[in-house]
Every structure is written in structure tokens, then in C-alpha cells.
């Protein structure tokens, strides 16, 4: 299939997909496309939703599917290796990796063969990129984890993962913004509120952000709250 591929997911929403494989380079194109559409906004544009490999454009009249399709096709063919530096925020997030909060620490140690200190080191020494927000309000999909830290999803999802839990699955890491069921392996907890329904833009992180985790002690974690 030739890429990029443009298809409707709704009468008023077109997705432009750059690949079916997740990579930094593909995501760079997604964010570049988002900036290009923002710069060349059109009458009827509602919102842009970036994902791992695609950007979805929501619109309403007077914009039509045919017109938006043409705009996407044209802008995509003009995408170049942009010389302008992608503007992104750098965000440091404190995480307490204490075993009392890292409920899946045992599973992760067994599966990866790493000790606790190595897990914390690998998780804090790398900068991660926010690929997209989804699954639930404010849930950031971040990557890419070093191969040594890769571990599959849990076979049986946990029913109650506490809000603020920092978890890993595959090449990804994420933070549960509110208490929810989930299949990722919890290795710590942040006191930072990732989603605040009272405070626009509600989500602490957004696609494109660069995140670095900073280990904090249990007393520090408690004093944050």
C-alpha cells in the first residue's frame, strides 16, 4: 500500500497515515504535518489529533471531505525534511520507585533479569518522547524504552491501577492519570497530577513533549501530596 494513505473515519474526519509501523521518523512526519495544517488552517477546521503513525483532521461545513482530502494530499507531498527545529517542551516528572508503590516490580525484575537499581537507572537516564495522548483523558504514550527494559503487557489486566502509577509495556512507558483498569506493569508512582478536569488544557502532557523521569524518595513523594 502506498503511503501516506488518506482515509475517512467519519463523514467529518480524515486520517492521514504515514506508515503502519511505529518509529521516531514516522512520528516526526505526523507532528510536522500537524504544524503545517495549523499554519495553513482552513474554514471549517475543528481539531487535529496526532497518533503514533497518523494525524486525524476533524472538520465541519463549509469544509468538505473532498476539499480536506485535497489539502492533505497537497501538504503531504510538500513535506520536506524540515530544517526548522521542532519546538518541544522538556518536562521533568518526579517518580517514586519505592517497592511499596511499584506493585509489579517483582514481575519486571523476573522478566528482565534486572535488579531494582538498574530498572530505575534505565527508566531515568533516557529522555522519552510523548507520541500521543489517548486510552483515557491525559494518558500519555511515551517511548522509546531501552530494549533491556522491554516487557509484555500483563496477561490479566489489573482492575485498579492507582492514579499516578508509572508503568511500562513493550517499547512504551506511560502514567495512569486516574485510577483505572490496565495491563501495563507498574514500576513507580508520580505525585504530579496528570489530568485536571478543572484546569485547561486539562492534560499535563501533550504529543511532542520530551519527558525525563527523576527518582524521588518515599518521604519526598509524600511531601509532594
Amino acid at each position: 500500500m502506498p503511503y501516506p494513505r488518506i482515509y475517512p473515519i467519519h463523514d467529518h474526519a480524515l486520517t492521514i497515515e504515514f506508515s503502519t509501523l511505529i518509529s521516531e521518523e514516522v512520528h516526526r512526519k505526523v507532528m510536522q504535518m500537524k504544524r503545517v495544517i495549523e499554519k495553513n488552517s482552513f474554514d471549517g477546521l475543528v481539531e487535529l489529533v496526532p497518533a503514533y503513525t497518523s494525524l486525524t483532521v476533524y472538520f465541519r461545513p463549509p469544509a468538505s471531505q473532498i476539499e480536506v482530502h485535497a489539502i492533505l494530499q497537497e501538504q503531504a507531498s510538500n513535506l520536506k525534511e524540515s530544517d526548522e527545529e521542532e519546538v518541544h517542551r522538556k518536562i521533568e516528572i518526579p517518580v517514586c520507585y519505592d517497592p511499596s508503590l511499584a506493585v509489579d516490580l517483582e514481575i519486571v525484575m523476573q522478566s528482565t533479569g534486572l535488579d531494582h537499581d538498574s530498572i530505575v537507572r534505565l527508566h531515568t537516564e533516557n529522555e522519552f518522547k510523548v507520541y500521543m495522548i489517548g486510552f483515557m483523558p491525559g494518558f500519555a504514550y511515551m517511548g522509546t524504552l531501552p530494549p533491556a527494559l522491554e516487557i509484555g503487557r500483563k496477561k490479566t489486566p489489573s482492575l485498579n491501577i492507582p492514579s499516578g502509577s508509572v508503568a511500562i509495556a513493550g517499547k512504551q512507558t506511560g502514567i495512569y492519570p486516574s485510577t483505572s483498569p490496565g495491563g501495563w506493569n507498574v514500576i513507580g508512582r508520580t505525585p504530579v497530577r496528570m489530568f485536571d478536569p478543572e484546569q485547561p488544557p486539562y492534560s499535563y502532557l501533550q504529543a511532542g513533549d520530551r519527558v525525563r523521569f527523576k527518582a524521588i524518595s518515599l518521604p519526598d513523594y509524600e511531601s509532594y501530596l
Binding site: 482515509y7 475517512p8 473515519i9 467519519h10 463523514d11 467529518h12 474526519a13 486520517t15 497515515e17 503502519t20 511505529i22 475543528v46 481539531e47 487535529l48 489529533v49 496526532p50 497518533a51 503514533y52 503513525t53 497518523s54 486525524t56 476533524y58 500521543m132 495522548i133 489517548g134 486510552f135 483515557m136 483523558p137 491525559g138 494518558f139 504514550y141 488544557p201 486539562y202 492534560s203 501533550q206 504529543a207
Partner: protein, 286 residues
């Protein structure tokens, strides 16, 4: 002007046409399931299309009017009674304080929409509870409302109406038009055929987020790597066990299952009026 929720019924909530512009933060659009009926209710009351309405699922909602009130109900899924007397959908109604409006079981449709001039105050999406009081902005009712004469039974009905909509019956099959989804061609020819030729039943575990359908299990040509892709209202995903799920008003923004099809925009409100147990058939006219 205010009303008291005596009983919220099976599920009642405040809805408008959804919050837009926040999907990039993982926040679903939400809004009325049958947005066409919500708009009609608002237009009968002289409101903006996006004003808050009460969405009542099936029956059981009982409202008491604390003051002289004009209102209109659209959609379906129940019968309406004021102080024990049957009253119609799709008309403006005026009631005296102390009157009660009841929603009773009916075999067609699934959701009804209650609008009042000015719209209900409150956060769209909130679920209504027993004893909750809802009020409105104090705006004058449309001039036409003044022409409604209140009878001895404590209410009056306007002599104009909005058009009735087709309500799906639990006893027949409802045709829903669909268009191929992004992963349509990843399904076997047999499954594509079964999808448009067989009948599916709306499962009891359906809600505002999605309709689970039971019927022929749908199969992919080969197993997919699960990559998260954008989804929205109307998208039909197929779970690992082959059951389709139609995403509805509270659809999440990102989904992990292959998207076999999407419901045509013109039939989403019709589907929202199908209740659990309803039979539906997907129609595809390439």
C-alpha cells in the same frame, strides 16, 4: 425555573452536542447519542442546537415541575404521562407547578430528549441522581408558548409539532448503512460477506461508549499486530473474539482493534435508538 428528578430511571444524563477540540488530550467528544433528536428538542424550545438537554435511556425517569414550565420531548424509547394523562412527543407542553412527568415502557426507540427554553444548567455529561434539582437560565419562553392554554388537568399542548422520526422496533430488523473502514480489506471475503448479509443483535453490555454486537464471528486474513489508531463515533472495531463493537457518543479517541467499517453519518442517530436486543443489518451499497 426548576425541576426535581424524582427518579432518574435506567440512565439519565445532561447532554449537548459534545466537547470538541480536546481529543488531542485523550478527552472523548461525548454528547447526545441521538444528536438529531436533541437538536429537534432544542429547536422546539427556541434554543441553540448545543443547549443542554436531558437524555433519558428507555423509561423510569420521573420529573416534578417546581414552577410553571414549558418543555418538549423528542426521540423515543418510552411513553409520556403528565399526572396520569398520556402526552405526545415532538410538541411544546406547558405544565403547572407540582405536576409530574413519567416515562413508561414502550417498544420502539431507546432514548428521549427533554429540552426547555434556555437549556438546563450544569455540566454536560453529568449523570442525574434522585432528588437532583435542575434549573435553567431565566429567559422568556418563545412567544408561541404563550398561546398554549392550560386545561383542567394542569397542562396544555402546543398545536404545532416537529416531524416524527422513524423509531426502530424490538420486533423487526433495522437497516444501518455502512461504509468500509480502514481495515476492511484485511478481513476474509467470508467475513466481509457475513458482515453485510447476516443479522447482528445489540448485546446487553452496550452503553454510551459502544454497542457490542453478537452474530457471526468476523476473522482477519492474518493476525494483526495491535497498533493503536484513531477512532471516533461510528467506527466499527472487531475484537479478538470476532465480535464487532460500534463506537458511540462516548467513544475513546484511540483504539487498538482493526476497524472493519463505519456507520454512515446519516444512520448514527437511528442506531442510537436501537436498544439492547435489537436486530440490525448492515447495508453496503458500493
Amino acid at each position: 425555573m426548576s425541576i426535581t428528578i424524582i427518579k432518574p430511571g435506567i440512565h439519565s444524563s445532561l447532554q449537548n452536542l459534545g466537547r470538541w477540540g480536546l481529543q488531542a488530550f485523550g478527552i472523548p467528544i461525548g454528547g447526545a447519542m441521538d444528536s438529531e433528536s436533541a437538536i429537534t428538542a432544542n429547536r422546539l424550545c427556541g434554543n441553540d442546537d448545543n443547549a443542554n438537554v436531558i437524555e433519558c435511556t428507555l423509561h423510569g425517569l420521573v420529573i416534578e415541575f417546581d414552577e410553571l414550565t414549558t418543555f418538549a420531548v423528542t426521540g423515543g424509547g418510552c411513553r409520556l404521562q403528565i399526572n396520569g394523562e398520556e402526552v405526545p412527543f415532538n410538541r411544546m407542553i406547558k405544565v403547572v407547578p407540582g405536576s409530574q412527568l413519567k416515562t413508561l415502557p414502550f417498544e420502539k426507540g431507546c432514548r428521549s430528549y427533554f429540552a426547555t427554553p434556555g437549556g438546563w444548567k450544569g455540566n454536560a455529561g453529568q449523570v442525574l441522581n434522585v432528588g437532583q434539582i435542575l434549573s435553567t437560565e431565566n429567559i422568556p419562553a418563545p412567544h408561541l408558548a404563550a398561546s398554549i392554554v392550560i386545561g383542567n388537568d394542569g397542562f396544555g399542548i402546543g398545536n404545532w409539532k416537529a416531524p416524527e422520526i422513524e423509531l426502530p422496533s424490538i420486533h423487526s430488523t433495522t437497516n444501518i448503512h455502512m461504509l468500509p473502514g480502514p481495515e476492511w480489506d484485511d478481513f476474509t471475503e467470508e467475513s466481509k460477506k457475513a458482515f453485510t448479509e447476516s443479522t447482528f443483535i445489540v448485546s446487553p453490555s452496550s452503553d454510551r461508549m459502544g454497542y457490542r454486537l453478537n452474530g457471526t464471528a468476523l476473522k482477519l486474513k492474518k493476525e494483526h499486530e495491535l497498533i493503536s489508531t484513531p477512532v471516533t463515533r461510528g467506527i466499527i472495531q472487531v475484537t479478538n473474539n470476532g465480535d464487532p463493537i460500534v463506537l458511540m457518543a462516548d467513544a475513546q479517541t484511540i483504539g487498538g482493534y482493526p476497524r472493519i467499517a463505519r456507520v454512515s453519518g446519516s444512520d448514527i442517530s437511528l442506531l442510537a435508538q436501537c436498544r439492547p436486543g435489537s436486530k440490525i443489518k448492515f447495508i453496503y451499497n458500493p
